[in-house]
């Protein structure tokens, strides 16, 4: 395991000249690193598109009354914003981009188990995106159902629901195949000596995620197909006029879509673990607890979907059980937070940008998690259900949690992926701006929700004006800072191999090879004779 000191360097995966050149060397490449970048760029593109939609919504909500758009446009906007952010940005999330890049490297392999399938998954991802896009601009206008496609409205609305639902189905297929590929890769491709309990914790989190992708996605897939069939063939699975049961739709939808939250957040937690261990300059506290909590979250997360339906019509017993299980699932999440803090305790922490991003994650994620308990207990949920409180809560989790972790990971692995270093000062200032902007945007929404402002309306009562104004201003701060962060990354400068190969003093395998890695990652498959975070490698 040299690489650092070796004098000759192979061409990196970015320079490597294969069969194809130009754009085709990207979209026909089965190299997991290039596919990872394809995902990364597409996801960031969709994130920015969703961001713009979010800003327009916030602008509409700057004051009571109609500002820049009417109700129909607002309904379409929150639907497409939700679809984009959920299905095109954060469900592929850290797994598709950083997972694809890092899994083979961190387990000491040359690629994933099925490289062609990997590329095919990206094609499916793009195909799903295109189908949704066509759905937005064709037919009778963009869907206005919300990203949840609740029946019976999704069966009745005149807007173009079929294409969006079908696009989401295709995206689900892509997600399933990625999960499948990762599971097989982790089982079959680990380097000699790397037992399951010598894998970095990011890999453990992706392993749990992959199982959720595999086991939960088909359920929503078939549900979406049923919605399509209801609309096209008039079957009536979920149409009460034909005997169908809309509440059954909600069950099937959330059986997937709650676990989907863990598809978003588990890899995020995994990346945060890597960052904290590296910058604490200590070995991780409670390796097994963190690894197992990933699996526990994946498992218990399967059984809590009912907490989205406390007000939809369920028996009292069912509501109590779902509420109880929801509280249970908080435990493994908390285990992770405690282990992170314990890892930092007495560490000699190095305060680099990725570390600050990880701190922002923990802080925001905790607010998201604790407000989740308010939604998880039936009595309080009945009060805030379908209000801005919920909007605030899930933005704290999916954006403040998974989204910020996405950027944390990007700052952490950027030198490895591109062999370049960004300006650290600007990175920190960008984070501060984002942190302030984020909380200014979303914290007021908790209060608005408590005061009774419903979600999914383009207008509101005058008493909600002040907090909404504050929130809109916050969204500008947030967007500006994000722009700063991205420009700063784009302007990163090439560094020497000595600077780039291991700038943070990381101990996992990716830091033992060149930055950017060569086509096959390792000249020779390493033999693993140590724990993943052991301080001095022999």
């Amino acid at each position: 395991m040299t690489g650092n000191s070796s004098t000759h360097r192979l061409p990196s995966y970015l320079e490597y000249q294969g069969k194809y050149t130009g754009i085709r060397s990207w979209i026909l490449s089965t190299d997991h690193k290039r596919i990872a970048l394809l995902y990364l760029y597409s996801q960031i593109f969709f994130f920015l598109a969703g961001l713009v939609m979010g800003l327009f919504m916030k602008l509409e909500l700057i004051a009571p009354g109609q500002q820049i758009m009417g109700p129909q446009a607002y309904n379409a906007l929150f639907t497409v914003h939700g679809l984009t952010m959920i299905f095109l940005f954060i469900i592929p999330g850290l797994a598709a981009s950083f997972g694809n890049f890092m899994i083979p490297i961190m387990i000491g392999a040359k690629d994933v188990a099925f490289p062609k399938l990997n590329l095919f998954s990206w094609y499916l991802f793009i195909a799903g995106a295109v189908i949704i896009l066509v759905g937005i601009f064709s037919g009778d206008g963009p869907p206005d159902t919300g990203w949840t496609f609740y029946a019976p409205y999704s069966l009745k609305t005149n807007t173009n629901v079929v294409l969006s639902v079908f696009g989401a189905f295709v995206l689900g297929f892509s997600s399933i195949l990625t999960g499948l590929n990762f599971i097989v890769t982790i089982h079959r491709m680990r380097a000699p000596g790397m037992g399951f309990f010598r894998m970095p914790l990011f890999i453990w989190s992706l392993y749990g995620t992959a199982w959720i992708q595999l086991l939960a996605t088909p359920v929503v897939g078939i549900t979406f197909l049923m919605v399509v069939a209801d609309r096209l063939l008039d079957i009536g699975f979920f149409d009460p006029a034909k005997g169908g049961d809309p509440v059954l739709y909600q069950h099937l939808f959330w059986i997937y879509s709650h676990p989907a939250v863990y598809i978003m957040i588990l890899p995020a937690m995994g990346a945060i673990t890597e960052i904290i261990v590296t910058f604490s300059r200590r070995t991780v506290f409670g390796y097994k607890a963190i690894a197992m909590s990933s699996l526990a979250i994946a498992f218990v997360g399967y059984l809590v979907w009912g907490h989205h339906m406390f007000t939809s019509g369920m028996s009292e017993t069912a509501r109590l059980i779902f509420s109880f299980l929801t509280f249970l699932v908080a435990i493994p999440s908390a285990i992770k937070v405690f282990n992170w803090t314990a890892t930092m305790y007495k560490g000699s922490i190095s305060l680099e940008p990725p570390f600050w991003w990880a701190m922002a994650f923990i802080f925001i994620f905790m607010i998201g998690g604790l407000t989740g308990l308010i939604l998880g207990s039936v009595s309080t949920d009945v009060h805030v259900h379908d209000t801005m409180f919920v909007v605030a809560h899930f933005h704290y989790i999916v954006f403040g949690g998974a989204g910020i972790a996405f950027f944390a990971a990007l700052h952490y692995w950027y030198p490895k992926m591109f062999g370049k270093m960004y300006n650290k000062k600007i990175a920190n200032w960008g984070l501060i701006g984002l942190f302030v902007g984020f909380n200014t945007t979303y914290l007021p929404m908790f209060f608005l929700g408590f005061m009774g402002m419903p979600r999914r309306y383009y207008d509101y009562l005058p008493q909600f004006a002040d907090l909404n104004l504050l929130s809109t201003v916050g969204s500008w701060v947030m967007a500006t800072s994000l722009l700063l962060v991205i420009v700063n990354l784009l302007r990163a400068k090439k560094g020497t191999p000595e600077e780039m190969d291991n700038p943070w003093g990381g101990r996992t395998l990716e830091w033992t090879i060149e930055s950017p890695p060569s086509l096959e990652n390792f000249e020779e498959i390493p033999v693993i004779d140590r724990e993943p975070y052991e301080l001095k490698s022999k």
Binding site: A113, F114, P115, V184, H187, G221, I222, I235, G243, D245
Partner: protein, 205 residues
């Protein structure tokens, strides 16, 4: 460098490909699992209508199709054994038989559906809309589930077709049998799902 690269993409792990296939089969089972849940809920809600509607289906045709699929599962399993023993010709014959049986299944299905549609029983038909809610759901589920299953038959057929040609040109052989084995696994899955569909729609009264 280039040399090494070729060697790597050529890297072939039969255990991995089988594991991948099994995982994919899980997802298929869950896909139909969602439908089985929907079926159970609606059957529970409309027991009488489901009972009466089920009597409209032709048990004989269903039974014939069940037997056809069971035999085809057997022939595909035998074709794998034949290839393991190195008998290429027999493999091809058995695979061809499997494909023929699948086609017969589809033809039967076509006539069965055709008869229903002829009697004005299909989703959204005026006649069906005039019946009870339970009837609408039963036939909606019937068409959707057997239709989805038929799509799987077609997919399986395509997979076995690829296997057939690869066996023929020798790229799937005794030592590299994964593709055929996986095709066979998939075919058993398609068969298995039918084994559940048949009693649910035709037999339970």
């Amino acid at each position: 460098m280039e040399q090494q690269h070729v060697a790597h993409t050529d890297h072939f792990d039969p255990v991995a490909s089988k594991l991948g296939m099994w995982l994919f089969i899980f997802t298929e089972i869950l896909l139909f699992g969602g439908l089985f849940i929907v079926y159970s809920v609606y059957r529970y809600k409309h027991p009488v209508e489901f009972h009466l509607a089920a009597e409209e289906l032709d048990v004989t045709i269903g039974l014939i199709n069940t037997i056809i699929l069971l035999i085809s599962s057997m022939t595909v399993a035998m074709s794998i054994t034949a290839l393991q023993l190195g008998n290429k010709k027999l493999t091809l014959i058995l695979l061809g038989t499997t494909g023929l049986l699948a086609l017969v299944f589809l033809v039967n299905k076509y006539f069965e559906w055709g008869a229903k549609i002829h009697h004005d029983i299909y989703p959204g038909s005026e006649f069906l809309l005039s019946l009870s809610k339970g009837d609408m759901l039963f036939f909606g589920l019937y068409f959707f589930m057997t239709g989805l299953h038929a799509l799987h038959i077609i997919a399986g057929l395509a997979l076995l077709g690829v296997a057939f040609f690869k066996v023929k040109n020798g790229s799937v052989n005794k030592d590299r049998i994964s593709l055929l084995e996986n095709g066979g696994l998939y075919w058993h899955l398609v068969d298995l799902i039918w084994i559940f569909l048949f009693p649910l729609f035709y037999l339970i009264h």
